[in-house]
Each structure stands twice: as C-alpha cells, then as structure tokens.
C-alpha cells in the first residue's frame, strides 16, 4: 500500500497518517518528494484495507500494491493447472472442445447430438437443463427431466456432461449428473452458489460476468478454490460494452493477461460472445490462436428449430468444417484437440 498525500498536506497530517499506520500494526515509510509526500507501507501479510487511511485529512489517495487473490494467482503456483474429468483433461498442450445445444429440448435431439459429437472425437457435451432467461416468460429449461436425459446420454455414448447450475436448490442433482458444473455469467458473483460448488466433487466452469474485471473474475474463482475445490476452469463469453455489432464483445484480449496472472485454464465461448452463427467460426479459430485452452460452443441438429439461441448455433455440417480448421491450426501451435 502507498498513501499519497496532497501537495499542501501539513507536517501534522503526515504525522497522523504515520501514526495510524503504526496503530494498524504496520510499518510506515515516508517518502518526501519535490511536490508531495508519499508513505509506503510494509509489514502486511495480505491486502491492507485502505478505507481507514483514505479518510484522514491531507490524504489524496491510497494505492494498493499487493494483489488480492492468492490461490488463483500464478505467483504462488507457477505451473499451469490441469483440470480432469473421467473423459478428458483441460490444460496445457490440449485444446478441449465442449459442444452441444443451448438447452436440453428432448431426448432425441440430445442423443443425436451426443452420438454425432462422439463420432467426431468430442469428449464433452454442453446442454442446459436449467436456463437463466432475462424474461420470466421465456422457456426456462426442462429442469430435472433435462438432467435425466443428459445422464442417459452419457450412459449411452460415454460423453461427459457440462451443464449449468443456477441455484443451490438443485446443486445436489446437478453435481450428481455433471462432469463439469457450469456457473453462468449472471452468477459469477452469486457467492452462495460459489460456496456451494467450492464443496462439490466436480470441476467448475466459471464464466466471466458481463461486466467483470479480470481481478473480480479471479476473486470469484478464489471463492471456489478457497472452499476446497481446486478444479476450476475460466470461460470468457463476451462482455458488455457500447459496441452493438454483436450480442456481446468477446474479449479475447483477456486471455494473455489471465494466463500471466493465473494458472487456471481458460476457455472461450464464441457462441454467446458473438450471438450470430456466421461469426462463430472465425472467433473460435482466433481463440485457439490467442492461447485459449478450448471452446464452449453451441451445436444443434436443427438450429432453425431451437427453443433458445438457435441463431448462434452451428449445425453439424458447419461444425465439421470448423473442426477441420481447428485441427489444421492446432498443429503449428503445438496443440492437440481433445
């Protein structure tokens, strides 16, 4: 922490700050400059709360130096993490594709999709049984029945299941069926839910909040890890900006800094990120090139009949074409599709 004094701060004001820092059990280091004084603080083990100092007379601002996250940070855990499911792994060297429809609509379409994906070497199926919808009048998902369908799809095809958990009420049911529990963008700071999945025995896919900074995202992951669940995968899915050419602004530029600050794997969801089918393949390829560890991508047997998000879903032929390009790009990048 660095306390910056105002230009016209008096010697008494500086002294009062110094004494308050000592009262807090920390060590002050006054740095008199040509126009103003700053006071460095050492001796803290975690982040210092600036509030008590900011309100003292003569203080201009407090600047935080220590990063507030620990378990998610790369400084304490330099190697890349690997997250495992019975079917596959997410982490360095591989590029993991999680594909499937937005929501479980019925058994036939899930079976059809799962069989198709398995035939293409895909190990993880995404599909929502519980759907978060902006309007209370929109289709909310099949619920527990949807989970049952997903379970049967795994039994039938061996594909792993990635499905969203919306609330603590359904946590046990989702945890039982899911190979990876998805926490959606609207729940990135639903702390009760984060604490619940921090006790789960399954990996957690944590989507970035629509307006979350990287630090807030890593702190949300810290909730999961500090509760005991170290199997966390980040997923960028577009943020909210002024830009109106796509549904969200897919922020691929968060990948390099996320990799720098954290050891956690990071996926990209180009379907929600763009909201339009035609924009999905170029963004999927770009995610691979930017260093993402994989994709969460919407594939539907008949997008034009989808109950939700049909406009952003690829059909099987489009997905085949994308998969082929991903394979061809992965090789020079030293990655293997999983």
């Amino acid at each position: 922490m660095l306390v910056v004094m105002q230009v016209n701060a008096t010697a008494e004001q500086i002294q009062a700050v110094v004494e308050t820092i000592r009262e807090m059990g920390l060590t002050p280091h006054p740095l008199p400059g040509s126009t103003r004084t700053a006071i460095g603080i050492t001796g803290n083990t975690g982040a210092v709360d600036p509030r008590r100092l900011e309100v003292l007379p003569g203080v201009l601002e407090c600047i935080r130096v220590t990063k507030p996250f620990k378990l998610t940070g790369r400084e304490m855990h330099p190697e890349d993490s690997v997250v495992r499911t019975p079917q596959t792994r997410i982490g360095p060297g591989t590029f993991t594709i999680i594909a499937g429809p937005c929501s479980v609509e019925n058994e036939a379409m899930i079976f059809k999709t799962a069989e198709y994906l398995v035939s293409r070497g895909i190990k993880l199926l995404r599909a929502g049984a519980f759907k978060p919808r902006t309007s209370p009048y929109a289709f909310q998902g099949l619920g527990l029945e949807g989970l049952e369908i997903l379970k049967r799809a795994r039994e039938r095809t061996g594909i792993g299941i990635v499905t969203e958990l919306l609330d603590t009420e359904n946590a046990d049911a989702v945890e039982e069926v899911a190979d990876i529990i998805q926490i959606g963008t609207r729940n990135m700071q639903n702390f009760a839910l984060l604490r619940r999945v921090s006790r789960a025995q399954k990996p957690v896919l944590l989507k970035r909040g629509m307006a979350a900074t990287l630090e807030e995202w890593l702190l949300a992951a810290e909730y999961v890890m500090s509760g005991g669940n170290w199997q966390v995968v980040l997923c960028e899915r577009g943020v909210r900006t002024f830009s109106d050419h796509s549904r969200n602004t897919l922020d691929l530029s968060v990948i390099p800094p996320a990799k720098l600050l954290s050891h956690l794997p990071i996926l990209v969801d180009p379907s929600h990120g763009t909201g339009k089918r035609d924009f999905v393949p170029p963004m999927a390829l770009a995610a691979l090139a930017a260093g993402a560890d994989g994709l969460l991508i919407e594939v539907h047997p008949q997008p034009e009949r989808a109950l939700s998000d049909g406009a952003q879903s690829l059909d099987f032929a489009q997905f085949d074409k994308l998969l082929d390009m991903l394979h061809r790009l992965a090789e020079p990048l030293g990655r293997t599709l999983a």
Copy 2:
C-alpha cells in the same frame, strides 16, 4: 416484429419468410421498398421470438416492436405505483430517505444510528447483515445475529428495516425481519432469488445490475411481479463504464426513461454510485432534482472506523447538512421528505 430482407433477397426467399410467419400463426405484411423489402408481422399477443426468422436465407435482421415487459410497464398501468411499509410510503409526492451503515457491525452502532435517524424524521434504516463481498477474505457480515440486532433496533425505535437478502437459504429469516427486502446489484438476475421474493409478503428493493440495460432491469422486476409480489422499488446505484473518476458511473439519466416506461418508484444510491463521501451530497441533491422517489444512503456514526465502505459513508454532521439542503430543494419541486 419487422423482418428486414437483404437488398438482393430473391422473391423465393421473401415468400419463404412469409410462409414461415403464417406457420407461426401470425400475419405477414410485405412492404416492398425501393432498395429492399421489409415484412411487418401482426397478430402476436406477446413478443415474437425472432430466432426462427433470423436464420432464414435472405433475412438481414429482425426488429422487435412489442416491448417484452408487461406488469412493470406504464402502458398497462398508467398511474405511478405506491409501495408501502408500516412506517412510510414510497411513491409520488414524497421523497423517501433510507439511511444507515453499510453493514451491521454491532448492536451499539445500530442503536445509535437508528436513534439518530428517528430524531431526524427518517423512517427506514438500511444495514446489511449478509454482505456480498468481491473477495472471500473480506468481512462477510454478522449474518443471523445481525438480523436480530436489526429487529431489536425496530422494537426500540420504531424505525423500519431495509436489509439485503443474498440467497434463498436465508430468505425466511430476512423476510421475517425486513420491512423491505433488498436485492443487490450482483443478484439482479439471480432468478431463483427473484422467484423466492416474488412470493414474499414484503416489498422488494431491486438494485440495477452493474451492466444492466433498463429493459433487463424491468424484466428482473417482472420476475418479482409476475410471481405475485407487486411491491417493487427500483434502485439505481451506478453502472460499470470506462469512467474511472468514481467507483461506478451513477446513471441519473435512467430516471426519466424509467419513469416513462414504468410505473414503479425509483430510488438512487449515491453512496455506491460514487464511492466517495464528498461526492455523495451533490449526487443526492441531483437525484431529487432529476425526479427520483428517494435515496438509499450510507450514514455511519464513525465512518473512519467502519468495517466496510467507510470512505463512502457520511457522518451525522454531514448527513444533517445534506438533509437540510434536501428539505430546501424539495419544496420548490413539490415534494415532501419521508
């Protein structure tokens, strides 16, 4: 709904869209223009899902005409709503002030604050027993013990209680104590929580999400109203933008359009909106002038000792000064402080 065709759409493509609209049970109205054709749709009772049409060949875009919210909308309910608690009312003609500390820290500070507020004519106390915190290592509130303290403060002083509900687990406990249940910015789209409070017997204060459009906010209120609870108060508390001069960008400009589109009362939280004590009074006065129905504002007996958000809390002397100015401005605006 209006379907806009591409400039080079063929007659067959236009015909296919027309037939799909008929299949959907709706009436198409082709409008051939000089450069392209658009197709109006009538016959719908609610919003038409554009997805099925957007993916048809030759379609450029679908433009929605009907607003997706109903119960929150002013078109169906032209008069301003009034929300009532045993202590006061929120709605036209009044300017309701809800004041108090960020969190319940102990009984003494809550009693002191409640007594002070009552002496100034304030009818509602805000204070969090459960605190949503970005970091898992920050103070998370006193929990049920905090609720008990708030209950005793009401018994002692008669002041009404506004306190945040973070999760469904504690819904019964919060509903019992609260005169108004607060739903925080991070939970604006926590649909399980919205559905729970839609069955509550207490009014709901719904804060705007950090990156929520007005439409999304009204649809979140629609979740509460469509579940049976019509006692909803909106609260603007700052949105997330590029601007870095304050903690959030307090969006006072949402008040006139919210009033135009909806009959619900709307409060402003200048404390979270600005994040700095000195910026709170001018924004509080501006909220009154802009047409807000009241304030949610942080007041603390000793801000410099606060466990959370001290930097944005007013002390009693500062609050007295603000209250005096609010009284003086309310009069020419035809409003009475409550």
Copy 3:
C-alpha cells in the same frame, strides 16, 4: 512513481531497477515487504515516464503518483476560475445558461430565438454554423453565411455568441464572431485545433470526448491553457456506454471530481446528453443541483421543423417552464441565473 516488483524478483533485478532510476537522475527508495519489494521514486519535477522501468526484468507494474496536469489542476490554483464574455461571466455563484438551436438554419429563426432568449434574461446564444455530422450525406451547416447571421443577431439583440469551431481553416472567421469558441466532443483530442484556440483571444468551451476520462479531458484543457489561453470552460455532454435508454449516458457524477481536481468551470449539455426532449428538463435541474456552473441547452422555435436534433430541442413554452424551475431551485442552492 512506485515500482512494484514481482514476488519472485531476484536481488539482482531489484538492484538493476534501482540503478536505472539513478541513471534517470532520480532517487530510488526500496521498500522490502513481506511478500515483495516496491521501490519509491522521488526527485522528479513532473510525471516520470514509466516505460523504461516497466520493461525491466522482475518488474510487475509502475504506479504513477504525480498527476500529469498542472495549469488545469486545483492544487496549483485553489480558487475557482471565472470565465468572462462581454455579456456575462461563468463561474462561482452564478448558473449560466447558453441556449439556442442546434444549427443556424436561417436568419429569421436565429433572430426570433435571440430575441426570445434576451426577453428571458439569457445572455448567450448557442447555434452551429459548422456542424460535425456522422454521415457525409447529412446537413453540414450554413458555414460562413451562418456566422454572418450570428453576428447580425448579436448586433440586433446584444446576445453573446457561442458557436463551434470544427477545423483550423475557419478559425479566424469563428474567432472573430464568437464570444465563446466551442470545441466539440469529436475534437476534444484534435490537438491542432486545441493549439489554434490556445492562441485565440476568446474563451473556449471544451466538450468532453465521448469516451474521455476526466484526466484526458483535463489534459485537453491543459493544451489550451499551456498555449496561453486561460479562459477555458468544460462541458459534460454524455459519454458512450452500454446503456441504450438514451442517446448518451449523461455523466453528472463527473462534476464533483472535476471540481475537486480542477478550478475550471463546468457546464452540462442535457440535450445531447439525453437526446430526447422530455428527458432534458429533469437532467437540467439535476445538473444545477449537482453543482454545475451552467447549461448548454437546445431551444428551437419549431423543434418539429428543425434541420438537426429537433427531437432533443425544447420549444419556447417548454424552456419557459424549465427556466422557472431553475430559478426556484437556484435560490436555496445560493446560485443566481445568468
């Protein structure tokens, strides 16, 4: 400047930073902490360029302490500035209203508007002879003929002229006619234009860029002041955010921090800020309550016939009503309309 080292920075890396700082003619102050070392820098007279230090091995980040603006800052000039025209003043105690149509359309409408405004005690007329338009096919203003009309309006009524300068080519012509030269939002960082008006003999009204931080805005003002023209007025006109309920997001919350950091007067343009006539009066009143020094506001004799921005212009009856409310609010705030 504070240089924060990585947790695992070596003693050699720290030493290299210390030596580079000395090489730059500055004094390093290493602050060894429990988890990492930070190095304070003193001895600088202006802002230190962090680039050279940021690229050294082991450096996590450089944190700037000294503010980069000088002449616009309040630290060196504690009293509020007053900007004067022959007709009026902008600054503490007064609330200055600059009103008129978006653009000069013809002589009759300018004379009519000027006479109306003078009859209401307004001292400054706004109207554009040169219009910046997003599309090359939109009405671009009357140009020099428009300036002539404005000049005649002043001769006829005595009202002062506020008009926009778009480019250096027309600088002499605009400077001759204008009592205040307006620099629009798209030109806030048109440095050639800023340098030109820094040599003008007339005050400059500097609108905030659509995505400008407060610091960038003050640095744009610093261009004008450092060139010799100290007569600068800031004008907030809405920023670009995700919010879609109005044309821009009018950021009234910038007023208190602008007043804290700078001595320059600040106006608000609620017409561009909202884009809709009905939203203008509440935002105008809110600007006064928030501490703005005045308004730049669109008034048109027949808004429904306006060549540009008719939807956001008040007609005379609406302006009369707003003016009455402004008078009534100004009194308790200790302000006088000018």
Copy 4:
C-alpha cells in the same frame, strides 16, 4: 423506416403520422396489431430522418431499416476490395504486415528498422513523424524532419511508408511522402481531415475511434470514399471499455461483421490494442485466425530506449519469432504473408 405508435395512440394521432409521411413524399403502410399500430414507410431512396416523426403525439419510436452507408457497404459492392501501394497489396488472400516503431526518433533507428524489415520480407514501414499525445508535455514527434527521414528510408531500402496525418496543415507534406496515409483513432471523426484525404492520391488507413460503433466507422470511411478516394483500409486498434487488464479492449469480434457489411480490407493493431509487449504475439495470431487482412504492429530496435510506446513494442528477436508463427498459421488458412 417503421414508426411504432404507443399502445394508447388515438386514431387521430395515427392519421396525423400517416399524413406527415405523405407530406414528406413517402408512402405510409399502417399495420394495426393486437396491442398497437406500427406504420411502415416505403418510397425513400436513402435513410429517412426520423426526427420529424418522433416528435408527433402518440409516436413511441422510429426504427430505421435502410443502412446509412452506401459506398463502403457490401450490398452495392459484393467483392472484397484490394488496396494497392507500389510495394504491395492489401486484400483477399494476403496477410499484410505493416511494422515499425511508434515514432521516428532519428535516422539511424529508422534505417536500421527498415533494413531489418526488408530482410524479413516486410513491404511497409510504420512510423510517426507527427504524434498525437494526450499530454501537451509529451514528445510530439520530429515533424517534417521525421518525414524526410522516412523518405530517405524508402529511397535506401525500397520499403513503403505508412505514417500518420494529424492535421490539414501538414497534409501536402504527408501525402507526398506516405504510401499510405494513416488517420488515427482520435481523428476518426475529424471531418475536415477526412475530406482532405478524400482528395489525396494515396490510400488511407482509417483507425477505429476509441468509442466508435461499426456503423460510425463505416460512415467515416464513407466520407473518404464519397470524396473520391476509394483506397481505404480499416484498422481495429482497441476500444474503450470498463476492462482494465490491458490498455484498450482489442475488439477482434468486429472483424466478421465488418467483413459482412463492407468490402473494405481490415487490419488489426495488436500493439495499441493491448499496450503490453507480451500480449502482442497471441493477439497478432488471433487477428490472422479471425480473418483480418493484416497487422499494424510496433517493432523497435531497442524498445527499452523508445521515446514513446516502448512497453508495447517488440524487439527484432520477438518479431522474428512472431513472423515465423504467422507464416505457419497462414498456410492452413489459405493466406500468404505480404
């Protein structure tokens, strides 16, 4: 254009809108729906100005259907454009790399960089003689002397020159030296400058404004094309959002919609887009994969000694490594580096 009436609009109000549309020389098509009436408009040749209709009583909103740009749009010009310089081409099939330092610092470093780039097959050198700087106290470039150095670099090595034009004063000088004239992000809506380069005999590289929508960007290009200069290249360089993990938010997701709407080539500037050297290579690769037509990228012989933007410049070894990866990725994408 579609005019949407309020739910409770009267028959007289609807009739008044219909008549106004006829007065405007256009054809109204009333579409009575179950809850409200909408009125389609046909007969227009360009975009209809909604202002006159929006202010009529009973009108809820006007929805634009026709896109406002023409020459930049793909609808009228379906094939991809190719932009040529004497040294190379920008357009389909190729991936054009424009590299060099942020600014011309002296002759030696420009010659050294040009020779290095030519040895690597790079055909275009970027370097600023005139620098737009946020602060008036920062290095502003060598000006005309810088242009001379660039000219000599071309004479010596044959490399083409891409350099920024900041103002109309220096337009002749820049046009003479440049093979491509760069218009920077702060000048995207400097219409005097756009009109000047619309008469230039050299191609124009038009950077996206910091907060520009795709439509505004294409309309800025429309200024250049409608003035007669069809040689326009777009360049994405990051936009302004709440995100703070990099200098700007590089919006790669704009590439597919830009390609859909426009025939113009589009480059990406990963150096300004990220602001940090280590983040540049992954974003450069992602730009190629996303379908960009090339890069504008900062390379400096000694980044740690750069007078500006050193922290985001690659050194030669880093650029070599990136170039190798670009070559390997271009092949499966069917692209050739130029």
